[in-house]
């Protein structure tokens, strides 16, 4: 059973196509993210689902019924806005009660529901407070509570963590996921931050230039991207230009533009002998030192970038490419110093290539 289905949804603004033929289904109770760079059309898509924009073509169904002719205030889709849009002239309790009052529920029910939802988000005593007295994380939870008290079929979240500082953002990611579990409501989450999408979602759609590039679980997107855009956008990758020399059995021998040759798995059908390709290798799959089988390149250590578990060694290959190599342990036991000669290697199944136009 799907809570939200979009079928061939399209939106044009004059000549510009903001959302181009997008179809997806969101199963009940799941956390679905749309990940894309700014300007890719994800906000337009969300605004169409909320009813603030009318699609040029296609259909939106909530619980199986088309909502195209339903005005925004009657759709069972609630939205957490980017800057939350809490009403500053009402206190916290009134903010949450607003939707219930619009629905015309009686006073006793409203009081009970507001207290219950505040209890659930773990802020039982804030009903009388002004919005301006809350911290960033509390405002976030109030904005969610204001929607959840109406028991919507789908909750839309438009990059709500964007305005928070890094530490709080990390905490809110986990908290959002827990809230989603607790309310067991379908969440549709929009973000340009891949780590938010990967950490929280059951399924992620990667969007680029108005189209969905790929829909899949975070693991699928990370481990087997189906396009060069997804490979480059989701997670960190080394990315090199090259030309396929020959292609056989899903493997391609690629001559890198900067020199050197690697064997890569072909990611799409556009890779043919002689065609231009892009090669992607994740830093954590590359190791220092010669491996038994697979690809290897040699070069010199350029610099060490310490970042705890995400530390990197930058190696400049003979051809001039700068390669990021994952190197989690950066203590005395790994005597790598800038200027050292280094051999790097990785297994061929960790190396993907995609055809590029032209």
């Amino acid at each position: 059973m799907y809570d939200l289905q979009c079928e061939r949804l399209t939106k044009r603004f004059g000549q510009h196509i903001a959302v181009n033929d997008v179809s997806f289904d969101v199963p009940r109770g799941s956390f679905f993210s749309i990940l894309g760079p700014s300007g890719c059309g994800k906000t337009t898509l969300m605004r169409m689902i909320a009813g603030f924009e009318t699609p040029t073509g296609g259909d939106i169904r909530i619980k199986g019924a088309s909502v195209l002719s339903t005005p925004p205030n009657r759709r069972s889709v609630k939205m957490v806005f980017q800057h939350l849009a809490l009403f500053p002239m009402m206190n916290v309790g009134e903010n949450i009660a607003y939707g219930l009052r619009c629905r015309g529920e009686n006073k006793a029910d409203i009081g009970r529901k507001v207290a219950a939802v505040l209890e659930r988000i773990g802020l039982p005593d804030v009903a009388e407070k002004q919005v301006s007295q809350l911290s960033g994380g509390q405002k976030q939870r109030i904005a969610i509570a204001r929607c959840m008290v109406l028991e919507p079929d789908v909750l839309l979240l438009d990059e709500p963590l964007g305005a928070l500082d890094l530490k709080l953002r990390e905490r809110m990611k986990i908290e959002l996921k827990l809230l989603q579990n607790q309310f067991n409501t379908t969440f549709l989450y929009i973000t340009h931050d891949q780590s938010e999408a990967l950490v929280m979602s059951d399924n992620v759609a990667v969007m680029n230039a108005g189209r969905f590039e790929q829909i899949g679980s975070p693991q699928e997107l990370y481990n087997s991207p189906r396009s060069g855009f997804v490979a480059g956008f989701v997670g960190d990758s080394n990315r090199w230009q090259g030309r396929a020399v020959d292609v056989a059995d899903g493997e391609a021998r690629v001559a890198l533009d900067a020199g050197g040759e690697v064997i890569a798995m072909t990611g799409d059908s556009k890779v043919a002998a002689g065609s231009k390709v892009e090669v992607f290798v994740r830093p954590e799959t590359i190791s220092l030192g010669a491996g038994a089988d697979g690809n290897r390149l040699s070069g010199t250590v350029d610099s060490l970038l310490f970042n705890g578990a995400n530390s990197r060694v930058l190696v400049r290959t003979a051809g001039g490419n700068l390669v990021e190599v994952g190197h989690a342990v950066m203590d005395g036991s790994s005597p790598v110093r800038p200027g050292d000669q280094a051999e790097i290697s990785w297994r061929r199944e960790h190396c993907l290539c995609f055809g590029v136009a032209g």
């Binding site: 205030n73 609630k78 939205m79 849009a85 009402m90 109406l150």
Partner: protein, 289 residues
């Protein structure tokens, strides 16, 4: 600390024009008027002090009726200006595109380039017996003889609304401009109808602008002189006209000063009452940060 001394000095210098303006042009004349209003003229060069001038005002119905009428008409003008100004301000701040916004705002300001007096005569040109509208109506055969559209209350109210509506629009635009569009969208998204969103979100948000605009417009209207005199003629019965008459025609400065004090006191009282009745206070609206 030389630094803080310099800071103090520049603060004093910056405030000086304002302080001088307030002291010399507002406070001092008001004190003078207050003093005059308490003085009774007994004979040439002989004065005593008391509340006799105020008693005269209370004993002469025509005076306090004029004051009440002025206040009531000013309230009407304020309400009409709000009704006319709000949609205009809302359009400029929320609906118009960014580029046309400045142009629209400028168009609202253009009438200010023409003096009050000239604009009032503009109305006279339109509305008098031999004016454009009367002539046009006769021309298309809707009326048989010339019709006098000047010198009645409706004309005075319309003219006043026209004169002051700008002072309603400006504060409204600036408050509405600060309102995030997503606030309105959130209002709809959570199930509000157009009316609910307007009443519970837009109006409360705009309240500082509404209060500021209403106070400015009410005070301007109650204290206006030209428009009611020119458009209302002798029928206008505007309180400022009484003050002028006492000061200039009758040369009774004591009585004129009394009227001036009463006008200030009464309009202040109306503003206070308005704030109380609508549950607003200056601290929570105009002075809000």
């Amino acid at each position: 600390m030389p630094r803080s001394d310099a800071g103090k000095l520049s603060l004093i210098l910056l405030f000086m024009p304002f302080v001088l303006w307030m002291a010399l042009l507002i406070v001092l004349p008001q004190l003078g008027v207050g003093y005059l209003s308490l003085r009774e003229k007994l004979g040439p060069g002989k004065y005593s002090f008391g509340l006799a001038n105020y008693m005269d005002f209370l004993h002469e119905p025509v005076y306090w009726n004029t004051l009440l009428r002025t206040a009531w008409m000013s309230i009407l003008v304020t309400i009409l200006a709000l009704i006319v100004g709000f949609p205009v301000a809302y359009y400029i701040a929320k609906i118009a595109r960014q580029r046309s916004r400045a142009a629209l705002f400028l168009m609202c300001l253009i009438p200010l380039w023409v003096s009050d007096l000239v604009r009032a005569f503009g109305w006279i040109v339109l509305l008098r017996e031999t004016g454009l509208i009367s002539g046009f109506l006769q021309g298309i055969g809707l009326i048989s003889g010339p019709v006098e559209l000047l010198y009645n209350d409706v004309t005075v109210v319309v003219g006043l609304v026209y004169t002051v509506v700008l002072f309603m629009i400006v504060p409204l635009v600036s408050t509405l401009d600060g309102m995030d569009n997503s606030m309105i969208e959130a209002g709809y998204n959570l199930g509000g109808s157009r009316f609910t969103v307007f009443r519970r979100i837009v109006v409360p948000y705009a309240m500082p602008g509404i209060v500021a605009g209403c106070i400015i417009v009410f005070m301007l209207t109650a204290g206006s002189y030209l428009t009611p005199i020119l458009l209302g003629g002798k029928n206008s019965m505007w309180f400022t006209e009484q003050i002028y008459e006492q000061f200039v025609t009758r040369y009774n400065w004591e009585s004129g000063a009394t009227f001036g004090v009463l006008l200030l006191a009464f309009t202040s009282f109306v503003v206070w009452l308005g704030l109380r009745l609508t549950g607003q206070s200056l601290a929570s609206t105009v002075a809000k940060d």
